[in-house]
């Protein structure tokens, strides 16, 4: 789950990281008011969960409260990469002398958090990693010990930060570590961390990505979820504990298990079709969950065929079959269905579905071939 810039920076501030004075606003009037309170120049920044806000014109400098109001009106009417701008952050404009990157993320391969810094701040770190990887310095953090002072100093020296800033840089790095650790983040990033013309360090932009699996211990953070970034079908699916991702194709997929669900999408493509979604109904799914999954798949108007691929283990074939019938009774559809049931209670499942108008398949390849054929309007 991604947090907005203003949310991330408020968390950073709690850990002693200096951030610009400012506040979030939902209307142009509020934006003007914040600008008046701050006095002088302000930056009006769109709060949407995509990169490239600046390039899209979603971050602008205002010299007066009136200009802030005009810019906020403009920005609040924008869509950036398909996402509506609902809020702007109005921050005191910093006098920037130099921009630095500072971030902490999970290093899967090392199985440890990694602190990264670069003297080339203000651009995306992936871009720096691609073009000038030598400009990034890294240190791994022992998750049992935390970030040590000397590690922060090494990083400061590694990016040629003038010595006079080492102390406050160390405090900021440790603050960032605290925010990352205590929020169960996958990423906590300050980009840029600037040296101002007044010779102070200031976190001008901030970003956090949280671990969805840890939200149970952060109810306050879980509430910050922005539903704009998810398709309505994905939000609906989460209510039922279904793992669902919408795609652009026309063959709906209902599968148990994530690996098998991906494989089912892949094999549809292999046989010349296009999957409409990823959907894992999970282990032990009962009839109600299956019915919910079916409604979500069929709510997509592009879907021209549905492929059920269930390998019974904990999940039982007869339960899945009952769920399919239950859902068909409710949604009434003419979309052709291809069913493949294997494993626990598969035979019982097939019997339950014997009178339903469904195409059956023995193997995964056979199922995919049939689904692709009927989606293209062919007969089996």
């Amino acid at each position: 789950m991604k947090l907005h810039e203003y949310q991330s920076k408020l968390i950073f501030a709690k850990y002693g990281i200096p951030i610009p004075k400012g506040r979030v606003a939902a209307t142009a009037g509020e934006a003007k008011q914040v600008a008046e309170e701050l006095g002088g120049r302000v930056v009006v920044k769109s709060q949407v969960l995509v990169g490239g806000r600046g390039k899209a014109g979603g971050i602008r400098l205002a010299k007066s409260p009136n200009e802030a109001e005009d810019l906020a009106t403009e920005i609040l009417g924008m869509e950036i990469k398909g996402l509506p701008v609902r809020k702007v952050l109005v921050d005191e404009a910093a006098n920037i002398d130099k921009e630095i990157y500072l971030g902490i993320t999970n290093d899967r391969a090392a199985r440890k958090p990694v602190l990264m810094a670069s003297a080339a701040g203000g651009v995306e770190i992936e871009e720096v990693a691609r073009v000038t990887p030598e400009k990034i310095v890294r240190v791994h953090i022992d998750p049992l010990l935390g970030l040590r002072d000397y590690q922060a100093r090494d990083i400061a020296a590694g990016i040629d930060l003038p010595r006079e800033h080492w102390r406050s840089f160390g405090q900021i790095a440790k603050g960032l570590w605290g925010a990352y650790r205590d929020s169960d983040a996958n990423l906590a990033e300050i980009n840029p961390l600037v040296i101002t013309e007044e010779n102070r360090l200031l976190a001008v932009d901030g970003k956090m990505v949280l671990d969805d699996n840890a939200l149970f211990r952060h109810p306050d953070l879980a509430e910050m979820r922005d539903l704009d970034v998810e398709a309505p079908s994905e939000i609906e699916a989460r209510k039922y504990g279904l793992s669902f991702i919408k795609l652009d194709g026309d063959i709906g997929c209902m599968v148990n298990g994530a690996g098998l669900a991906m494989t089912t999408m892949d094999i549809i493509k292999l046989f010349g079709g296009a999957p409409a979604n990823f959907l894992d109904i999970g282990g032990g799914a009962g009839a109600e969950k299956v019915a919910a999954a079916m409604r979500i798949i069929l709510s997509d108007r592009n879907v021209k065929a549905v492929l059920f691929n269930v390998f019974g283990g904990i999940t039982r074939g007869d339960e899945v079959a009952r769920g399919i019938l239950y859902a068909l009774d409710e949604v009434k559809t003419k979309v052709p269905m291809v069913v493949r049931l294997v494993g626990t209670n598969a035979e019982e499942g097939r019997q339950i579905l014997a009178n339903a108008d469904m195409i059956t398949a023995e193997t995964l390849a056979d199922a995919a071939r049939k689904a692709v054929a009927v989606a293209k309007g062919g007969e089996i």
Binding site: N106, D211, V255, A261
Partner: protein, 287 residues
């Protein structure tokens, strides 16, 4: 023969009185697994499965009383990392964690702690292990595989069943199947398992089932090139997965252009591994 688990495995079930723990304990016992104890804090002194298996309050006491040497964990995600620490501190050699959804920072702490101990963790977020004809530790349906000479290692659950089933259809048997799990941080890697299969005299060939996310398949390819004499066949799931989206498994995500299925397939093919286009092709490639 087999790797990691066999007929000498003395299994302890953590979370044995929960729904899943109890159901799968029954399944494991029915398969022939020697389940010697269960642990549920606060329920020590009870018995499950009609008085066949004693329940203890802690792993330390259970190990002292029963000589358990392996544990399988079915406790909910929020308690699972503590369950792993407890098993490691009690001196168990092999810990198999089925639980899905453990926070990744918990797993980083677990993994860094276990690296200082002599405990091996398989999983989490995995279906466990199956040595057909001898024992199963976890949730892999026992009847979909027969004993044989193919070693299977996989990041997935039902996809693994699919492969075992396809092998059984053509009469191919399995030495041991290891589900290493779909999380970004886990205990046992592809390389660990391939190395054990290479050393196991009764395993003749290996099947590696990978998916998008991370670079473990690429590292496995390097290992295969340098250390494997036995043939390896692979399948990689997620070629059609969109970037930036977590495909069900916490670890199955293409990030910043890395973790792509195509890169993994390229790396494996470059070292002579035959990569199946879909799982039902695997038996043919093993012939």
């Amino acid at each position: 023969m087999s790797i990691l688990v066999n007929k000498h495995t003395r299994l302890l079930v953590q979370g044995i009185t929960g729904n899943e723990g109890l159901f799968h304990t029954e399944q494991m016992v029915a398969y022939g697994t020697n389940v010697v104890a269960g642990v549920t804090p606060g329920k020590g002194g009870e018995w499950v499965l009609n008085g066949k298996i004693p329940v203890f309050d802690s792993i330390r006491i259970a190990v002292e009383a029963t000589g358990a040497n392996t544990s399988v964990i079915f406790v909910p995600a929020r308690f699972a990392s503590d369950a792993i620490f407890e098993a490691a501190d009690a001196g168990l050699e092999l810990i198999v964690c089925i639980t899905e959804g453990i926070p990744v920072q918990d797993m980083m702490r677990v993994r860094n702690y276990l690296d200082q101990k002599h405990a091996r963790l398989v999983g989490p977020n995995c279906p466990g292990l199956l040595t057909p004809g001898e024992t199963k530790v976890g949730i892999i349906p026992g009847d979909i595989a027969i004993p044989g000479k193919v070693g299977v290692v996989s990041r997935s659950g039902t996809l693994t069943y699919e492969v075992l089933y396809a092998l059984k259809q053509v009469g191919m048997g399995v030495s041991t199947c290891v589900g290493i799990g779909g999380d970004p941080i886990n205990g046992t890697s592809f390389i660990d398992c391939l190395s054990m299969f290479e050393d196991d005299p009764h395993t003749e060939k290996a099947v590696l089932i990978g998916e998008i996310g991370g670079s473990d398949e690429e590292k496995a390819a390097e290992f295969i090139a340098d250390h494997m004499t036995k043939p390896v066949v692979a399948f990689i799931a997620g070629q059609t997965a969109p970037p930036g989206k977590r495909m069900g498994h916490a670890g199955a995500i293409v990030e910043g252009g890395s973790g792509l299925a195509s890169d993994k397939i390229k790396a494996l093919e470059a070292v002579g591994v035959r990569v199946a286009k879909h799982p039902e092709q695997i038996p043919d490639l093993l012939k």
